[in-house]
Structure formats: C-alpha cells, structure tokens
Amino acid sequence: MSGSHRRDGLRIASMVHRISGLALALFLPLHFYTLGLALNDAAELDTFLRWTDNPLVKIAEAGLVGLLSLHLFGGLRLLALEFLPWSPRQKLYAALAASASVFVSLGFFLSAV
C-alpha cells in the first residue's frame, strides 16, 4: 500500500484509541504506587504532591487527562459504531470525540493553574 490510507481520519482515530489506551496502561502502575503511598508513607506522599504543583507537571497532567478523555470519547464512538444502527457520519463523530477531548484537557489545565 502507498500509505495514503493511513492518513485517513478513521485510521488515525483507531490508532489514537489504541495508543492512548497503551499510554494509560503504562501510567496506571505509577498512579497505583502513588495511591499506595497514602497508606504506607504519608511524608513521601506529601513530598510527591508538592512536586505535582510544578507547572510542568500540570502540563503533563493535562496531557494525561487528554489521553483519558480521548480514550473515553473514542470508546463511546466505537460503542455507538458497533451497537447502534450504522451511521455514515463516522468521521464527524471521530472529530467530535477529538474536540471534546481537547475541551476537557484544556478545561483541566485552566482549572489547575
């Protein structure tokens, strides 16, 4: 294949869904480790929470929220695709899912800083 099909919106939507899922899976152990600190090491947790006030960490968190919302809205799009009667507007729905994710991610960032 020449590769032009890989630039198609729906092919990209599928890849974004997979990659966001994998990235979230990689983040989860760190998330659980931090939650574990609340039970085992309160002082260490406080140090960590102070570190998260760093603006760069806030940007990274906004990215994480973006990944989460991309995966959430992308997943809703797939559920609609597979369980509702077929709609020819799949590219519109993919674009709406991406827009909603940007909105959520920016909203998080603005409320965090």
Binding site: M1, S2, G3, S4, H5, D8, L10, L81, E82, W86
Partner: protein, 252 residues
Amino acid sequence: MSKQRETELYRPGETLAVKVWRGNANGGGFHAYTVPSQESQTVLDVVTWIQQNAEPTLTYRFACRVGMCGSCAMMVNGEPRWTCRTHVKKVIGDKPLEIAPLRNLPVIKDLAADMAEFFDKWTAARGQFQPSQSRDDAMAAISPDEPRRAAANAAIECINCAVCYAACDTVAANPGYLGPAALNRAWTLQSDVRDDAFAERLDAVSAGGGCFNCHSHQSCMTYCPNELNPTASIAGLKRLSAFSYLTGGKSR
C-alpha cells in the same frame, strides 16, 4: 489533479512510463516499460498492451472489462483498484505508473494473485445460501421496503474482486482474519429471511478471525469500487452476535 498538471503528465498520442511487477511466489521486482498513451486508456489497457506488444509472457487476469466480473484487481501506484474501470488519467502521478499484484494474497505469477485463501474464507464465513424451502414451496414474497431486505440490498453488489481484502490492514496484520468481503457476504445472508443457516453462520463469523477482529478503519469502504461499506456490514454482524449472546441465542 489540476488541469495544467494533467496536460503535463497525460499526453494522448505520446508515451507513458510504466513499471510492472514481474515474478512469482519466490520473489520478483518491477520492470520498466514504455507504453503509447491514448485517450480514455484504462490501467488494464496498459497491461494488455504490454502483454501483446512487449512482454508476451506477462501473466494477469481479466474477463469482462466492464467492472462486473471482479477478476482484474491489481495494486496501482500502491492502491488496490479494479483496473478495467480505472482510467490512467485518474491515477497518473509524477512517477511511472506502478502496477503490482494484489496485496495480502500470495502471488502465482506476475500480476496474478492466488485467490484461493480469499474464497476459502468466504466458505469459512458460511457464504453459501442455505435454502429454508424447497422448489415445491411457493416463492417467498419479500417487500423491498422490509428493513432486513434493505440491509441485504445495500451490501449485495459485491463482485468478489478482493480490492477490500487488499486494502485491509487488519488482514495484513492477522492472516487468519476472514476479511471484509467474506464478512460482508455473511451479513447479506444473515439479512436474508429465506436463509436457514442463521445460527451456524453467526457462530462462524463470531469465532476467532471473525467480525470482532475488525478495527473499523474503513479502508474497505474507501477502496470498494462498487461503493459498498463492508465495515457497516461487519458492525451489523457484531450487533447480531452481541444481541444473540445477551438473549441466549434467541434474537434474529
């Protein structure tokens, strides 16, 4: 293509640079040819000219030349197309026209791909109609407005050309996947009220390699020369399968 670019690259009466893949299952490569260019020339015309005038041993398939038989599909500039209905003018770029055998299928020789696995998968997806009545019964009266018939009609004009199969990245990554054409065929039969193998076919298309392997990239829909949407058919099979599971196999 802009009008200006079109005049630069496509000059009827002059020549056309073409690269054709030649080889067999053990390997091969592209060979260059110069072909006279003509008005309204199709890619199949180009291949035929090469075989008749330059390379008598060139192997390729075609039959009807009018987009009905589905035998002349090839990769043209890296994209699967029905060559008899693809005008050179439409696909010519700024490089030689590149013609290769269909992707995702083994090569027999030159441009002829081995279609055996493609059709074996139709059989594996239970692509055969299973009559529920005999010739002695009255003919079934089916309204074209009936929703299931409308769903079948929307998907039924497949010519088995394997363009969707060649376009599918899921087939490329998972050779066991039945592919868009076989599943689309299964969907038309699941939507046919006269068919009597609904449960068996649903098992066949829900098993490993079946409809749940589809990632809904919709390349099949993008490239289908008959403008069918196999992804929609596969989504239909996923729905049938999920609802059948939820209702303990009672839904139809």
